[in-house]
Every structure is written in structure tokens, then in C-alpha cells.
């Protein structure tokens, strides 16, 4: 017996909203990056669920590419955090409000 697609959608909605709340509320840049990973994971759950529902592999291909982009995003994001921390000695995102090199 298959798990209904609605369950995947509801689980994914919960994880996505948790990630969005983390991005909105937290000041620490690391937690913001972790919340973005959480949101990407929520999208992946949807893709896997629909891949199962429609009995094809397209959703699973999309998940592979999402993971590639997530890995690239994490590497570049962490590099930006490192260089920002070196310049400003903080990781609180609301303190980075100057457009000045």
C-alpha cells in the first residue's frame, strides 16, 4: 500500500515553513544557511513523492540536480561567511547593512 501523496506535501510544507521562519527570524548567518538547506530538502521530498506517484524517474533526476546546486551553494555561502567574518568580525546578518567594499 502506497503512502498518499498528500502526506509528502504536508511534511514538505512543514519543513519548508520551518526553514523560512529560520531565514526570517535568526540573526546568525550560519543558521540562515542551515535553514536554506532545510527548505531545499523540503522541495526534494515533494519531488520524490511525485516521482513515486507518477511511476517515473524524472523527480529523482531533479533531486540529484538540486543536491548538486545545494552543494555548490553551501561551498560558496561558507566562503562568503568566512571572508565576511574576516573583514567584520561578526556573523550577524543585520549588521551587514553597508554597501561599501
Amino acid at each position: 500500500m502506497d503512502i498518499p501523496i498528500e502526506w509528502y506535501l504536508v511534511l514538505s510544507a512543514f519543513l519548508f515553513v520551518i526553514g523560512a521562519a529560520g531565514v526570517l527570524t535568526r540573526r546568525n548567518m550560519f543558521i540562515v544557511l542551515l535553514s536554506i538547506e532545510l527548505m531545499m530538502n523540503a522541495v526534494n521530498i515533494n519531488l520524490i513523492g511525485f516521482s513515486r506517484l507518477h511511476d517515473n524517474f524524472i523527480g529523482q533526476h531533479f533531486v540529484l540536480f538540486t543536491m548538486t546546486v545545494a552543494a555548490a551553494e553551501a561551498a560558496v555561502g561558507l566562503a562568503i561567511v568566512t571572508s565576511l567574518f574576516r573583514n567584520r568580525q561578526t556573523t550577524m546578518v543585520d549588521l551587514f547593512d553597508l554597501l561599501k567594499g
Partner: protein, 196 residues
């Protein structure tokens, strides 16, 4: 029936540790909770019989991305910021109002719509007869999505070069910080003393 019970258990654990991620003030605790959440999501992929994706989820997310996060967190001395205010002063109220509304909207739409399966070529029996999930997924990937696959490798290369360029120190500064390592003078960064 067993599948549904397991789905509920893993989903509850994933959502619970997800809430933990955004409420901890210690970043390492948040990281470990996020790894736990990803492992639970991998278990859900296993229940959905997406076996390759489940293994890649653990290898890439829990194994590579979050270990990278942990390394960077340990590079930077962040303990002194734990006592600071962690929540954004204005946006936390916006999030408190908006996120339940958006969640309710998602759930209502997901439950109200009727989802019809189009009935693709790879149902459980076909996949089992054709050599399993991994073999067929790879075969379809290299037949249907070869160009995106190659572009993905290019994206990874660009991200790697970009990360090195962004994170590398300036030339002269790097040489200066290295200089003391060759002399007898022992320099302990002050934060190491603070930690003890």
C-alpha cells in the same frame, strides 16, 4: 500499514529536529539536529523506494555539506556571539504572523486538490524486473538527462573555484600570517585562552 506508521514516525522526527535547528543558540547543536533531520528524510526516501537518492542524501548532505559547515564553524570563533540577541527584532514578529498563514495555505491546497497519477512506465514490478532502482535510475539519467548532468559538473567546478577565490586570503596578508610559524616565537591566539 507499517509503511504509514513509519512515515509518520520519521516525519515527526524530521519536523521536530527541524524546529530544533532554528531554535538552538549553539550552532553545533543546530548542525547535529539538522544532520538528524536529514537522516530521517533519507529514511522517508527509503520508504518511497528511492534507494539511490536515500544513499546520496546521507553521503552528500549529512556526510559532505554538514561536515563542511562544522569545519567552518570550528574555524571561526563564534562562542562570544552566543550570548548576543539571536532573533531579528522586527522580522520575528513578521515571521510569527506570516509562517502559520503560509503553512495553513500550503496544507489546505495540498489536501483540497485531487492528485491523479498519470501512470508512468516504471511501477514497482517493472523496476524490480529491470534490475532495481539504481540501475534504471542511472540508465534513464544518462539517456534522458545527459546534458544537464554535464552542466551540473560544470556548476560544481565553478562553485569550487569561486569558493577558493572568495575564501583565500590576500597574497601578502597570507604570507604575513604564515611568517610566525617559522620562527621560535610561540603565538597563541587569544581566543584559545578564552575557551579554556
Amino acid at each position: 500499514m507499517v509503511e504509514k506508521v513509519l512515515f509518520i514516525v520519521f516525519a515527526a522526527l524530521a519536523v521536530g529536529s527541524g524546529v530544533g535547528v532554528i531554535t538552538r543558540s549553539n550552532i553545533v547543536h543546530a548542525l547535529i539536529l539538522l544532520i538528524f533531520s536529514f537522516v530521517n528524510v533519507a529514511a522517508i526516501y527509503l520508504l518511497t523506494s528511492a534507494f539511490f537518492i536515500a544513499v546520496v542524501q546521507i553521503l552528500v548532505y549529512a556526510g559532505a555539506i554538514l561536515v563542511l559547515f562544522t569545519f567552518v564553524v570550528m574555524f571561526l570563533n563564534l562562542r562570544q556571539y552566543q550570548s548576543m540577541e539571536q532573533l531579528h527584532p522586527v522580522q520575528k514578529w513578521v515571521a510569527l504572523i506570516m509562517t502559520p498563514l503560509v503553512l495553513a495555505e500550503f496544507v489546505v491546497v495540498a489536501l483540497a486538490a485531487t492528485w491523479t497519477a498519470v501512470g508512468g512506465p516504471f511501477d514497482r514490478e517493472t523496476v524490480a524486473a529491470g534490475g532495481g532502482n539504481v540501475a534504471l535510475l542511472g540508465e534513464r539519467l544518462f539517456n534522458d538527462a545527459l546534458l544537464p548532468f554535464e552542466i551540473a559538473s560544470l556548476i560544481l567546478l565553478v562553485a569550487m573555484v569561486g569558493a577558493v577565490v572568495l575564501a583565500a586570503k590576500e597574497g601578502r596578508e597570507f604570507m604575513e600570517t604564515r611568517a610566525w610559524a617559522d620562527t621560535d616565537e610561540e603565538r597563541i591566539p587569544e581566543f584559545v585562552e578564552e575557551e579554556v
